[in-house]
């Protein structure tokens, strides 16, 4: 799909990328500070495997960084320094 098509669908070009170090991250239940504080609500958590009749405790966090402004609030609030934001070079 061309850049023009993306523009037509109003999908922005990715300018920054948000990386979460999963080895350091303690997850949305114990902490979840990035999710609670992000002004653009960039972080998304979802159950890895939800089974009927059961509570799933294993939720993953991903970043919808297409809409990240790079303000750095998440880096400030993360107690484990698990988040890095880097600018993508053209």
């Amino acid at each position: 799909m061309s850049m023009e098509r993306l523009r037509e669908l109003a999908i922005p070009e990715r300018t920054v990328t948000v990386q979460i170090d999963k080895t350091k991250c303690v997850g949305p239940f114990e902490c979840g500070k990035c999710l609670k504080n992000c002004p653009a609500a960039v972080f998304i958590t979802y159950p890895k495997n939800r089974v009927r009749g059961e509570i799933c405790d294993d939720w993953d966090i991903v970043a919808d960084d297409l809409f990240c402004w790079g303000c750095g609030v998440c880096i400030e609030v993360c107690p484990k320094n698990a988040i890095t934001i880097s600018e993508l070079k053209k």
């Binding site: 799909m1 098509r5 509570i55």
Partner: protein, 280 residues
Amino acid sequence: MCDWCQQHGDGKKWYLNVKNFSKEFLKDKAVVEAANAFLQNLESFGGMSPPMNAEMLNLKNDEEFSQSVEGMKQGFGSMIPHKGQVVPLEDVRKIIKLAGPIAKISCACRRMLRANFEEKTCIGVGPVYLEYGKEWPDYTRGGVDYISKEEAVELMREFDKKGYVHTFWMDWQSPAIVGFCNCEYPTCAAIRGRRHYGDWLNFFLRKAEYVAMHDYDKCNGCGDCVQRCQFSAITYSPYLEKAIFDMKKCAGCGLCRNACEQGAIKLVPRSEVPAVRSLW
């Protein structure tokens, strides 16, 4: 109104057609299957920030990502023309009169985007999801609290005062009613989807049957309505010393009325305004 609305609206708005509230849908295997799949996969599927899903967000290669977007769009396109619509408080009251049973559950978007499992702003009104919600305790964390019609109206009024936009939803495969969401930008996956991606996303969330208009003479330029708008449709003009309503952006939720002490804002039917008549 689209073909789907006319087909399932029985001459009225689709959400006021009592047929769509029927328990008969529970006998339809396809509807039941779709409801269960929704309860199982909502967070990891496109519900979060359409047309994104968790799998796609992990793709940092732009080429692969673009292909996924195209696939997702086609997938959505094959479903019913719209899943949700913005409804103002007066229509909320009419819907609650028709609805039953009613229950409040924790909000899916707050779970996904804020890791908040407490705030119960999703008001399920149809039989479809309430019947199966109990079977998916991870989806309905905090439980399903049944409430009376009076409590539901009172709750919706509180949400309106607080500034949450009401949207009303149907099942993804049939006209079966699902319930209300009460949310805001950027925490609502649907509202943020509309703000991020614009009008082509109207197969997911439609604007209301109304549009806000303000009485220019009554407006004293206090600007209180500006911060009430979750769709960035109102700006304050320092030159005119008045609020300006961008009717093409207005979703017709009517929340701005709560802020106006002059009573200058009213909702008019979208069909009466030629410029926005076909903007959904």
